[in-house]
Amino acid sequence: MQRITLREVAHARTGDKGDTCNISVIAFEERQFDHLRQHVTVERVRAFLGDLVRGEIVRFELPNIGALNFVLTHALGGGVTRSLALDAHGKSLGSALLAMEIPAP
């Protein structure tokens, strides 16, 4: 089966609140939302981000705008203000996720 990176069909943005981060994954074309819903699962995101996320991952679905919203707890090194990380906000995490491979639609 042909595989593509998520970046070819979706865009993403990361936000932060304390030690929790959220990553939106938004289909460029809303008709591909079901494909994203099927292949960008909590399990796959956890496996891809590995030990960057020490807490739980919850996925919210927004069919109204063709988007998924992942909320990742204990993902920011103890929180933006305390973290030793270079990117303490985790702003670049969405870009990491867009490198994940999924089957071509």
């Binding site: 865009h11 936000g15 959220n22 981000l49 590995g50 030990d51 960057l52 919203n69 990380a85």
Partner: protein, 448 residues
């Protein structure tokens, strides 16, 4: 009721200034909001105020107000901003002085204080809302409750055209002038939810107008954005039913599209159906975004449920120090030398008896942002930069960590260049909750 036109002139305290002037001059606005207070900013400002009681407001207040006040006065644009930070009253005095110096008249300046609840949170037991741990009074430097729309709305009704606040929930800065203009009631949860959605879309300024969206090289140029150096900041045309069009000044750089709005709609959002603010539990889950011409997106179908009885409080705690050192290596074998350098620093710290509470070793260019997970996909880079960062109890230990990186200059490995070191105090921010009734906003008005 006429459409209400509201813009966002800053998405954080260091933001660009010219886009706000452009909005004030050419946006045909009723109101311009400057959101300048990140989580930690107010704790830093509180320390500035402790050192000098006339300070503690936003450091760029003078520069920003000198640039935008003349245009706002000329075009009758009301200003709402949290640039008051830890000292809204002093910020109000400062704006008065600037307006007088610029020869501006007819201004009514309101200051809104009362978000500072440090004396309560220090005296009574409060716990971290995330992990339930007690908040240590001896380490507290600040505690500020997130205020909602009420004091801002009251100041507007009393005729204020410049409103300086401290900690206020970001979307409330936008919702307050909207609801006064349209006469929305404070318990019309659906309208408050819609207004909150609009405020949320605007509050980070250039993040909704294509700036933060840009990502060149995607097939079809879907994220290629023009004019990023002249990025326009957003404005909304808000109707009395709570629907709106998000747009920007014609001719400014950037893009407003359904895609840019989708990214910002979900920014810093957890459960889309329950976004809690002091004013409402807003529901973003049914929001519709539809194109409405070039750089125009129609927003509808937000909603909301009754507000909660508690207000969030952001508490700043002294949590030790961070020492950091960096040094670069390049050319063949760069990664190997940087890894050797990291091992040397680790052994040196053991030898000199420095044991940080937490330490990390990053190779910038290889694994600094995402650890060893996703970066295994990347080939070995031509150059890397070793970064050692440690949290310590004392500034002396933080300094020792940073110095052990700097001394790699002469002690090897070969070819290390561009060493830098920093030592800074950690102001950790925690959240707790306080009953709404215990927080009493104070409004003061003064005329120029």
């Amino acid at each position: 009721m006429t459409t209400f036109r509201i813009g966002c002139g800053a998405g954080y305290s260091g933001d660009r200034i010219e886009p706000a002037v452009e909005l004030a001059e050419r946006g045909h606005l009723h109101c311009l909001v400057f959101e300048c207070l990140a989580e930690r900013t107010i704790a830093v400002a509180q320390q500035a105020r402790a050192a000098d009681p006339s300070k503690g407001y936003d450091e760029r207040l003078d520069e920003r107000m000198e640039a935008v006040l003349p245009a706002c006065v000329a075009h009758n644009v009301r200003i709402v901003t949290n640039m008051g930070a830890a000292n809204p009253v002093a910020a109000g005095e400062r704006v008065k002085a600037i307006a007088t110096r610029l020869g501006l008249h007819g201004l009514k300046i309101a200051t809104i204080a009362g978000d500072d609840v440090l004396s309560i949170v220090q005296r009574e037991p409060f716990t971290d809302v995330d992990d339930g741990s007690p908040l240590r009074a001896d380490r507290m430097v600040s505690a500020n409750a997130y205020l909602g729309v009420e004091p801002i709305a009251e100041a507007i009704r009393r005729g204020a055209n410049v409103i300086m606040t401290g900690r206020v929930a970001d979307p409330s800065l936008f919702l307050a002038p909207m609801l006064v203009h349209h006469g929305w009631s404070l318990d019309d949860w659906s309208l408050l939810g819609r207004g909150t959605v609009i405020g949320h879309l605007l509050e980070c300024a250039g993040q909704v107008t294509g700036g933060y969206f840009a990502d060149p090289g995607i097939p079809g140029g879907r994220k290629d954005i023009q004019g990023l150096a002249r990025l326009g900041f957003p404005l909304a045309e808000v109707s009395s039913d709570g629907s709106a069009v998000v747009t920007k000044v014609v001719g400014s750089g950037g893009l407003v599209s359904t895609a840019t709005c989708k990214e910002q709609l979900l920014y810093e959002l957890h459960d889309p159906s329950a976004h809690i603010t002091p004013d409402v539990v807003a529901d973003f889950s049914q929001v519709r975004l539809t194109p409405d011409g070039a750089d125009r997106v129609r927003v509808d179908a937000g909603s909301g449920r009754p507000r909660t009885d508690m207000l969030k409080v952001s508490v700043g705690l002294r949590e030790g120090w961070i020492g950091e050192g960096q040094i670069s290596y390049a050319g063949p074998g760069a990664v190997g030398r940087a890894q050797l350098a990291a091992a040397i620093v680790a052994e040196r710290l053991r030898l000199v008896g420095v044991a940080p509470a937490e330490i990390r070793y990053d190779l910038i260019g290889l694994n600094a942002l995402h650890g060893s997970g996703p970066s295994h996909l990347a080939p070995e880079p031509y150059e890397v930069r070793l970064r050692v960062a440690a949290r310590t109890d004392s500034p002396v230990e933080a300094q020792r960590v940073a110095r052990e990186v700097e001394t790699l200059y002469t002690n090897g490995p070969a070819g290390g260049g561009g060493a830098t070191m920093t030592v800074r105090p950690v102001l950790g921010m925690r959240s707790t909750l306080i009953p709404r009734a215990r927080v009493r906003p104070r409004i003061a008005l003064t005329d120029v």
